[in-house]
Assembly symmetry: C2
Homo-oligomer: 202 residues x 2
């Protein structure tokens, strides 16, 4: 699936299968981390839903609502899988990768919203890439199926967030900023600690 041109991702670094083998050494820990990311993604979509750009953007409300609903549904799926495996969520969760990305958000109404959209798109793109690698590496049928479904869903989210950004800013300026953020994302990811987490380092 990942090899299909239709699903080409613009990321500046490629996650190797070794990352997935290590992350899958404790699938429950990985699922627990994953659950918090889905919750955060749903909250983020709702936060964007209530913070719209300076001018009217067609599809804003529909996109954010639909993403929030998707992510809440994914969260419920992760929790069902955890329940079936007799596991429960941890009470707290840290996500230094996303926090470092969010520190890149510029000030100013339009710049802020553009950066938030692009960083959300980046996180979706990276999650998408990693679900693809996890789906290929795991020999757990339930997880493989789940990760393949998430790959497709997160790919769709990555595209719609970028599309909304394209309605707010002209192409040249957007491309410039997007390349900066792509480079920053690969650097930030590379310096994460290894571990059984979706956005861990090597």
């Amino acid at each position: 699936m990942l090899e299909d041109e239709k699903f080409a991702l613009p990321l500046h670094s490629k996650t190797p299968p070794e990352w997935a083998r290590r992350a899958l050494s404790d699938p429950v820990a990985l699922l627990i981390d994953h659950a918090f990311l889905e919750k955060k993604a749903a909250n983020n979509a709702m936060a964007l839903l209530t913070r719209w750009p300076g001018e009217w953007v067609a599809g804003w409300t529909e996109t954010m609502t639909s993403v929030a609903r998707d992510e809440a549904a994914h969260l419920a799926q992760v929790i069902r899988i955890l329940n079936r495996r007799g596991a429960r969520l941890a009470r707290f969760h840290k996500n230094p990768y996303a926090n470092e990305l969010r520190e890149l958000v510029r000030k100013g109404v339009t710049d802020e919203i553009l950066d938030r959209l692009m960083i959300t798109a980046l996180i979706e793109a990276r999650s998408c890439e990693r679900f693809g690698v996890l789906a290929e590496v795991t020999d757990d049928e339930e997880l493989a199926k789940f990760y393949r479904a998430l790959f497709a869903s997160e790919f769709g989210h990555f595209k719609v967030f970028l599309k909304l950004a394209g309605k707010i800013e002209e192409k040249a300026a957007l491309d410039r900023r997007w390349l900066q953020l792509l480079a920053a994302e690969a650097e930030i990811l590379a310096r994460q600690e290894p571990g059984c987490r979706m956005h861990s380092g090597m």
Copy 2:
């Protein structure tokens, strides 16, 4: 609708039509406040989804997911109505009513989750009651229809949160705490400032 026995609410105080007439004097301000409450309600359901009670409770994941999706959908509806009226959300929002209620949450795994469920049920019940009064008082057809639909939805939420609480604690202890919280809710609401907000005082 409010007079129907099927929709009987246990609240310890009754919102008079004068409250609704005053709140509706600035419908846009009321809708802006309302949007934030829907967002908070969706986030709260997702927070409860990731915090389950000490023992396995059937329907937990399904209830929280379904409430989160409902509230995200309501949030989108409020935003569409605001957009059509040329209005936008404020950037910040305060909700002293809900904050004061949340201060009543006891410590301890089971007590905390029970109180959170019951306080969520209380907020749903009060919102439900107020949507009913607003629907009866407003002469704005769009709002009347919207508030009637929300009345029914929030009534359903109020019931499911209480039902989940009933799966965790035995009836006598639950009833005792529920009566305490009902009394506290009426007191807290009574001391709120008046204004065009869903949980304002008189």
